[in-house]
Symmetry: C2
DNA sequence: CGTAACATTGATCTGGATCAAGTGCCGTGG
DNA sequence: CCACGGCACTTGATCCAGATCAATGTTACG
C-alpha cells in the first residue's frame, strides 16, 4: 500500500530525525505521515495558531519569521532538507513558517508525533540535540544582528551560503572561485540580516568592486576570494 | 552523610530539572552533584573550552555572553534560579557563562549528567521542553535586536524585569506602582539590548520625564504606568 | 572622607535608513 | 520579432537614530 512505502524513497531518510528509527519502527510513522507540496510563498504554519503539525522538510527552503505588532519582520531561521519543522508540544506557534522556494514536506499531526517521540527515546534525544544546536545558532545570530556592521553581516551570510552550497554540490573548485545560486532575493537577505534591500545591494556591489565576489547575473554569485570574505565577516 | 542530603534543602528542587525525579532517583544525583558559590563577576564557563560541566542554578543571576573576535560583546541570555546551565553533550562551549550577582550552583560533571539524562527519559523530555522554550525566546529577541528602536527595547526590557520581579515578590501593589531593584548595571542592560550605556540611560530618563517610571536611586526602579510601558514596547 | 565605579547629560558624528530615480531582465502579447 | 509592462535590483541624495566623544554628577564602600 502507499502509506507503507512513503519512507522508502525518502530523500532525507538518513539525515532526518527518522534516521534514528529502525525499519520496523518506521511503520508507525508510515501510517501517520503525509507528503505535501508547499509552493514558493505559501505559508505552512501561522504565528499565533495552535501547534497542530510537525514535519520533516524533504526539499526546498523554508523561512521562520517573527513579526512585530506593526508589521516589521525578521527571519529568525532558515530550514533546509532533513530539518525538523514545528513544535512537538501543545501551545501556540510564535513564528510563521513559509516557503522561500517550492518545497516538499512530510507532515505528521502534532499529537501523534508527540506520542512517537515519547515512545522512541533515541528520536527524542536526537531532537534535543538538534534543538540545542539551533539554540546555539540563534544565539550566535543575536551577536551578528546586534553588534556587527552591514558589511560584516553580508560577508558572513555569503560565507554561510557558500559553505552550504559546497555541502550540496555546485560549479567550481573548492579552493578557487565557486559559483552558485542564492536561494533568496535581496529582500529576503535583508530580512535575515536585519538590514534594508538597499544596504544589502550596496554591500554586494562593494564586494564585487573589491574583487572578493562576482555577480554573474540573476541570483548567481561567485566566491572569488573566500578568505577575504571570511576576514570581512570576522575582523579578528 | 552530606552528599546524600544535598538535594533535601535545595531551594529549587521542584522547579528545576531535578523536579522530574523521584526521591529514590535523586540518590544518583546526590552522589554526583556539588554545590558551588560563584562570585559576582566570576566566570563559570569559558567560550571555546570543552563542555565539562552542567549545573542547576540555585540562586543569583548568570549571563550567557557571545563575543566577536575583536571584543564586541552581546549578552544572549540570562539564567535565573532553577534554570539549567551548560551543555549535556560533548563539544566546545560557544558562549561564556558568568555571574551578574553572587550565585550558587549545583554542579555535575558533564558526562555523568549525560548518563543521568539517558537513564531518565522524563528528565530528558523536560530538558527538551526547556530548550525549545529557550529557542523561542532567543528567536523573539532576534526580532527585538534587529528591528526595534532603542525606546522599544528599553520599555520591553523593563516590562520583562517587572514581570520577573512580580513573580518573586517585591514592594508595591500589582496594579499600581511597583518598585524593585534591577539586578543589572546600565552597561549590562546595554549588552542585552544591543545598545550603548548612554542610550539606555537617556531612554530611562525619558521614561521618567514622561511619568511612566520612577528612578528612586541606585538600581531601584518604580513602574508607575505599566500599560504605557507595554504600549511603548510593542506599538500595535 | 576620599575615591573609584557607575550614571547622567551634552555636543557631535556617522552608518545605515529612507526617499527617489534609474536599469536590466524576463515573460506576454501584439 | 520586437514592444511593453512588471519586478528585482542598483545607484544616488538626503536624513536621522543612535554611536561616539567628553564632561559632570552620583552612589557605594573602604
Amino acid at each position: 500500500m502507499l502509506a507503507a512505502t512513503i519512507c522508502v524513497d525518502c530523500a532525507v531518510r538518513d539525515q532526518s530525525l527518522c534516521g534514528s528509527l529502525t525499519n520496523s519502527e518506521l511503520h508507525a510513522l508510515n501510517t501517520l505521515g503525509r507528503r505535501r507540496i508547499v509552493r514558493r510563498g505559501e505559508t505552512l504554519i501561522w504565528a499565533g495558531e495552535d501547534n497542530i503539525l510537525c514535519a520533516n522538510l524533504l526539499s526546498g527552503v523554508l523561512k521562520l519569521v517573527a513579526s512585530s505588532g506593526d508589521g516589521r519582520e525578521q527571519i529568525v531561521g532558515l530550514l533546509y532538507p532533513a530539518d525538523f519543522v514545528g513544535q512537538p508540544y501543545p501551545g501556540q506557534a510564535d513564528f510563521s513558517v513559509s516557503a522561500l522556494t517550492d518545497a516538499e514536506v512530510c507532515i505528521f499531526p502534532r499529537a501523534s508525533f508527540e506520542r512517537v517521540l515519547t515512545d522512541h527515546a533515541r528520536m527524542e534525544r536526537l531532537l534535543l540535540q538538534r534543538t540545542l544546536a539551533a539554540l546555539d545558532e540563534a544565539r550566535s545570530r543575536m551577536l551578528t544582528l546586534a553588534r556587527k556592521s552591514a558589511s560584516e553581516k553580508v560577508a558572513g551570510f555569503l560565507v554561510d551560503m557558500a559553505t552550504r552550497a559546497a555541502a550540496t554540490g555546485c560549479r567550481g573548485t573548492p579552493r578557487g572561485p565557486v559559483t552558485f545560486d542564492l536561494p533568496l532575493s535581496r529582500g529576503q537577505i535583508a530580512d535575515i540580516l536585519g538590514l534594508t534591500i538597499e544596504t544589502v545591494s550596496r554591500q554586494m556591489t562593494q564586494l564585487k568592486t573589491r574583487g572578493v565576489i562576482g555577480l554573474p547575473g540573476g541570483r548567481a554569485i561567485t566566491i572569488v576570494d573566500r578568505d577575504a570574505l571570511a576576514a570581512r565577516a570576522d575582523p579578528a
